[in-house]
């Protein structure tokens, strides 16, 4: 049982096309399967951008193509950032992938002025967590267990379901603050 009952933990729904949008751009980090609601298929999206380790170098500058493949996430996010700066209202973004990818996409979209009602996210696989140490502010990436060691201050952090959309990270709180060294059993929960 891993639901801590904390409301800030995002929940995700299978993607369907937002009927109020006029142009639909789908972004995927290549990890997700089964991301669509029954009434929705890949063909419904005007453009599809994907990341693939096997992908050829991304076709720079050719934004006419319906499908683009990027070799790595930073390229995709940089192109998205450039694209959104010149986009007009009416665009809807969709992202599928691991949770940290989704919220990096959301951050680029928000930077361009898009609101939560213009972006739909689906975490096909939640994956390892980013954990923000509330004591020193350092973020640990790739956390798979209920307790993580902070790479900044060394504290043993309990990984809460308390999620910051701004930081794209879960809150980590010193787990043995009251009785130093009193640590719970380690469970792998977020692999």
């Amino acid at each position: 049982m891993n639901d801590q009952g904390i409301k800030s933990r995002p929940s995700y729904r299978l993607l369907s096309l937002d009927p109020t949008g006029r142009r639909h751009l789908l972004l995927s980090d290549g990890t997700a399967v089964g991301a669509f609601a029954d009434d929705t298929t890949l063909q419904d999206f005007d453009e599809r951008w994907t990341i693939s380790d096997l992908g050829e170098a991304h076709p720079g500058g050719d934004h006419q193509a319906r499908d683009l493949t990027f070799g790595a996430e930073p390229q995709l996010l940089a192109d998205l950032d450039r694209r959104l700066k010149t986009e007009q209202i009416g665009l809807r973004l969709y992202a599928i992938g691991t949770e940290p990818f989704l919220w990096r996409v959301m951050a680029v979209a928000a930077e361009a002025g898009m609101g939560r009602d213009e972006v739909r996210l689906f975490a096909g696989r939640l994956g390892p967590r980013r954990v923000y140490c509330i004591h020193c502010g350092v973020i640990a990436d790739g956390v798979v267990a209920n307790v993580a060691t902070c790479p900044g201050c060394g504290a043993a952090l309990f990984v809460r379901d308390h999620f910051s959309r701004r930081l794209n990270a879960f809150a980590g709180v010193k787990v043995d603050a009251e009785v130093p060294g009193d640590l719970p059993a380690v469970e792998i929960l977020y692999a």
């Binding site: 109020t20 007009q88 209202i89 009416g90 665009l91 361009a112 002025g113 009602d117 213009e118």
Partner: protein, 319 residues
């Protein structure tokens, strides 16, 4: 037990410092504090509710067009309504420089969205007035803004003069809506833009429809309509006293209650604040507020008298 002391709804006494005729149908009023004290700052988009000496004391609300940081005077622009309920006719014909009026503290239900990347303002006729206070505010903040004002040809000169102080910004005056390509205006806006509409209901409806057509997200479209307070006349029954009060087609339920001497608490008079919430015992409310949840609406047990009406000939309230 603590005695409940209602707040004075009309705490300000204002003196008419100037009345300027902008066109046969438009006057600009400048109201100053009667005792010279600094006035409460009017938030952008706010309106001022004045007590006018009509039949008994009646209240009318007008948008404030002066800047939010001007605490010396409130500026109003009042259009003489073709079918005036008394308020605009009084202001146009009888109000004189030096007159004193009681007023409420300015309140606003029409807000600028602080995260917007650009503000697109569309005004129809005297619906320009709240947008003028937005323009003041956005100019001070240096935020991107584009305004489209639609008006009758015979009022174009007056609105051109009103907008003169904002020359140099993207200000467009259109006479009539027929040749206006709303889809082109709205479709070309950048991500993060917010849209604000104030005008008669048909214009508001047309702009909202055009915005939806080109894919504006609903959360970025804001509107304030006027002239929508009326509707079919109905009767309101006060269950506690058994009194029946007629609500005319040109007055609000709240105004009818006040005119009859029943004074339910009320604050914003625009369906936003929730202060006037009233229990419905019988009949079907016609909800026009922004306060009640969809569950509350569906239940039909609550109504906001400041803006809402009745779908049934008789509405019985727990008053």
């Amino acid at each position: 037990m603590t005695a409940h002391t209602p707040l004075n709804p009309m705490p300000l006494t204002l003196r008419v410092r100037a009345i300027e005729t902008l066109s046969p149908s438009l006057k600009r009023l400048t109201l100053v504090s009667a005792d010279g004290a600094a006035l409460p700052p009017p938030p952008p988009g706010s309106h001022l509710t004045l007590a006018l000496p009509l039949d008994g004391a009646q209240t009318r609300s007008y948008s404030i067009v002066s800047p939010a940081n001007d605490r010396a005077a409130y500026g109003l622009i009042v259009r003489r309504a073709e079918r005036s309920r008394g308020g605009s006719a009084y202001i146009h014909q009888r109000l004189a420089v030096g007159d004193r009026l009681k007023s409420a503290v300015p309140t606003s239900q029409f807000h600028l969205h602080s995260l917007a990347r650009k503000h697109v303002l569309i005004g129809g006729g005297v619906g320009l007035t709240p947008l003028l206070s937005f323009l003041h505010d956005l100019r001070v903040q240096g935020r991107p803004v584009e305004l489209h004002q639609i008006c009758r040809a015979d009022e174009a000169d007056a609105f051109r003069q009103i907008l003169e102080p904002f020359a140099g910004h993207a200000i467009h005056l259109h006479t009539g809506r027929t040749r206006l390509d709303l889809q082109a205006i709205l479709g070309g806006q950048p991500l993060g833009a917010h849209l604000y509409i104030c005008g008669p209901e048909p214009l508001t409806a047309a702009v909202r429809a055009a915005a939806a057509d080109v894919g504006w997200p609903a959360g970025a479209v804001h509107h304030e309509s006027f002239g929508a307070s009326g509707g079919a006349p109905f009767t309101v029954r006060l269950a506690r006293s058994g009194r029946d009060i007629a609500v005319g087609e040109d007055e609000t339920l709240l105004e009818a209650l006040e005119a009859a001497g029943a004074n339910p608490p009320a604050l914003c008079r625009g369906g936003a604040c929730g202060e006037c919430i009233t229990v419905v015992l019988d009949g079907a409310p016609d909800h026009r507020d922004h306060f009640l949840s969809s569950d509350d609406r569906a239940s039909g047990r609550l109504v906001m008298p400041c803006v809402s009406r009745a779908k049934t000939a008789l509405l019985t309230l727990d008053l």
